[in-house]
């Protein structure tokens, strides 16, 4: 197998995350993720490519809220990939991305069952956008129809755009050229994104200096996620 040219990686510092949800909103806007109604959300159809999981620690009155932003972990060894019968979800070995081909998906939903993070979202109905939303849909991203699965792509359209720009300028991709919408938006700067193959990138530096705090979600399953979390200390939220 070809060695990855890029190893796109995200580092999420849980000490900095305030659980504000700006990344969720940015992702909806960037990736044309449909906004579900309250009724649909109570029926387990909430669609947020990135979500803030809130867990409570301790017993009253000494309770702490812990926030965990969870999105597709872009696993190096993804459980969702081999189970797709039509190759709608497959791996990019050169970029370490989990790609989702919307118009190849037939909707067996096996990938979601086999996904331990539950970060894949099924379009139960055709997406409905209100007029004001229709006018601001991102032209770089397909609007998915009913019956297909979708998930976080690490803003693959931004990666492509940055690659094309670099090619046009005849320069190599620099660290910071590619910034996914959630990373761009995060007010406290808890999210960092970059190429782990580049030893000088921000993510490589973060992982090096913070390696005492590093963990990956459900790492014991052997999925080799590309998202690293930096453990948070006590919070008083």
């Amino acid at each position: 197998m070809a060695l990855p040219v890029h190893k796109w990686t995200m580092v999420i510092d849980l000490d900095k995350c305030t659980g504000c949800g700006a990344c969720v909103v940015a992702c909806h806007a960037e990736n044309n993720v449909p906004v579900q109604t309250e009724r649909e959300i109570t029926r387990l159809r909430a669609m947020h490519w990135i979500r803030i999981e809130r867990y409570w620690m301790g017993a009253y009155p000494d309770v702490q809220a812990r926030f965990l932003p969870v999105q597709c972990q872009q696993c190096g060894n993804a459980p969702c990939e081999p189970v797709c019968p039509v190759y709608a979800t497959n791996h990019s070995p050169t970029e370490n991305l989990n790609l989702q081909t919307y118009n190849r998906c037939v909707g067996t939903r096996y990938c979601q069952n086999n996904d331990p993070y539950k970060v894949r979202f099924f379009n139960f109905f055709d997406p409905a956008f209100e007029d004001s939303f229709t006018n601001q849909l991102n032209p770089d991203v397909t609007v998915r129809t009913a019956g297909v699965m979708e998930k976080c792509t690490f803003c693959v359209q931004r990666i492509r755009r940055a690659e094309e720009d670099a090619l046009a300028q005849g320069a190599a991709l620099k660290d910071g050229d590619v910034i996914p919408a959630c990373v761009q938006t995060c007010p406290p700067g808890a999210l960092a994104f970059g190429d782990l193959n580049d030893p000088n990138s921000q993510v490589a530096a973060l992982l090096k200096e913070q390696d005492q705090r590093t963990f990956r979600l459900l790492e014991n399953l052997g999925t080799d996620p590309a998202i690293y979390y930096l453990k948070g200390g006590p919070s008083h939220a």
Partner: protein, 492 residues
């Protein structure tokens, strides 16, 4: 040919056909022999013409009840198709599926129908290979359960697809983009296995039907005769044809048994290959095969009891057959218990947090009603009843037991699919599935289709393999050894 009888000249020696064998003159022997005839269909010899009539009479006379039932069932089938179209137009959102529970009642039905599709082949193929003679009159009733149950099982993955109009992308067909299905996916193994099993079962059932279709052709006139003539494939009953028929049946019987085992193993791999807690288990393969045979034997018993009472087949279907099937079901129940114990013990002993969550839900949580009903229906009910021959041969009791076994096995699939899927490693993504109206309508409708197709089939084709009964009666005889009557089967 019947063997020579020591106490009297053989019927053939006296120039009599085998069905005109008189009772012995000795009164005691005669009483013994008539008792044996009453117990055993293959000794209760009648002429082929009579036997054909016993079968064809109920096929020709349809009661009002039959028509009323057919119309109701056809209404059910219409309801299924309407609900399916509604779901296709609106999207899968009309079901109760949600984020952790992406598979639910459609997959439950799929596994259930494949399950009851197993016993048919097992009874006719395995019991044939093992030379169980009591399978003769019941083999076709079981095969036809297989054929129709499998056709419904083949429809469910389509009903469950998000974009059913693209279903052919799952098939390996040549196309200009050189796109092929991914053989990494258990779903493609599944599709391959089911299509193989489905086509084998249809052919197997059809091969055994040919001599009986030819008989129907010879006993009908007009349009019906033309219909049977097509399907009889010019069968004349020559010695060579019978020899070929025998060979074909043997080849199919031996060939279809490994296919049958592989199919439900592969269905279990749909679950066992996944990382989902509660699914990722190595015991699933044999456990599913046994579960399939268990619910399937129950379904065949239900079909046989209904056939016997509605089509007046008391001559063909006797206590011996129900006794045999019930013993078969009891053995399968014990085997199922063994595998379920294995499947339960390992996660319980391991005690991983998510497994413990599931076990607590089963034992004393929201899932307890399902779990205890399943255990009672699958373990206690067969174990407490089927040891008694009185219950095994009492059709009402046996019907109830078989029905409870099927309810228990259906619940087992409910527990495996939507209930287990609702829990996973990250508690943030837990959720509860609720059944919605379109799913209920589709489920009921497919059961209606199964019944409708079955009752129509029984009116068009003989549901008892008459040639097997003739053959068995010609081969079996009683022979006197001292004061004892010995049941003999002559070499074929």
């Amino acid at each position: 040919m019947p063997e020579e009888n020591a106490s009297r000249p053989s019927p053939t020696e006296r120039g009599l056909p085998y069905w005109e064998q008189p009772l012995p003159e000795d009164k005691e022997l005669a009483a013994q022999e008539s008792e044996a005839r009453e117990d055993n269909l293959l000794l209760d010899v009648r002429s082929p013409a009579d036997i054909n009539r016993y079968m064809m009479d109920p096929m020709r006379r349809q009661s009002t009840r039959f028509w009323v039932l057919s119309v109701i069932l056809a209404g059910g089938v219409f309801m299924w198709l309407t609900a399916w179209v509604y779901q296709m137009i609106n999207g899968l959102g009309v079901t109760g599926l949600g984020r952790p529970v992406m598979w639910a009642v459609y997959i439950v039905n799929f596994v259930y129908f494949i399950g009851i599709g197993h016993a048919g082949t097992f009874i006719s193929a395995a019991l044939r290979v093992l030379k169980f003679e009591w399978r003769r009159p019941i083999s076709r009733a079981a095969e036809i359960v297989t054929v129709f149950a499998l056709s419904m099982a083949a429809v469910y993955p389509l009903i469950h697809l998000g974009r059913v109009w693209k279903f052919y992308w799952l098939l390996p067909y040549p196309n200009e983009r050189q796109l092929w299905p991914s053989y990494h996916s258990p779903l493609v193994w599944d599709l391959t296995a089911i299509l193989t099993y489905f086509s084998c079962s249809i052919l197997f059932a059809y091969v055994s039907l040919i001599p009986d279709i030819a008989m129907m052709r010879d006993h009908t006139t007009g349009r019906w005769q033309a219909f049977y003539r097509i399907f009889a494939l010019g069968w004349r009953g020559s010695e060579k044809e019978w020899a070929n028929h025998e060979t074909t049946q043997n080849v199919f019987s031996y060939g279809i048994i490994p296919v049958m085992f592989s199919v439900h193993t592969i269905v279990s791999w749909d679950f066992a290959m996944a990382l989902q807690p509660g699914w990722h288990s190595t015991v699933f393969g044999p456990y599913f095969v046994v579960g399939a045979l268990f619910s399937g034997s129950g379904a065949v018993i239900i079909a046989l009891i209904l056939l016997r009472s509605t089509m007046n087949l008391k001559y063909f279907l006797r206590s011996e057959h129900f006794n045999g099937m019930a013993m078969f079901m009891l053995i399968l129940s014990l085997t199922w218990d063994y595998f379920y114990f294995n499947d339960y013990l390992a996660p319980w002993f391991g005690g991983a947090p998510v497994d413990r969550t599931l076990n607590i839900l089963f034992e004393r949580g929201a899932y307890a009603p399902f779990w205890y009903t399943m255990i009672i229906c699958n373990t206690l009910v067969p174990a407490l009843t089927l040891w008694s021959k009185k219950i095994r041969t009492n059709l009402t009791a046996l019907f109830l037991v078989a029905l409870l076994v099927n309810i228990g096995m259906y619940l087992e699939r409910v527990i495996i699919v939507p209930l287990t899927l609702a829990r996973n490693e990250l508690p943030f993504s837990w959720g509860v599935y609720t059944l919605q109206a379109p799913e209920t309508m589709i489920t009921i409708g497919t059961f209606c289709f199964l019944f409708l197709a079955y009752i129509i089939f029984t009116r068009v084709f003989p549901i008892i393999p008459l040639w097997e009964v003739h053959e068995g009666q010609a081969l079996h005889s009683l022979r006197k050894v001292g004061r004892y009557l010995l049941h003999l089967k002559s070499a074929e």
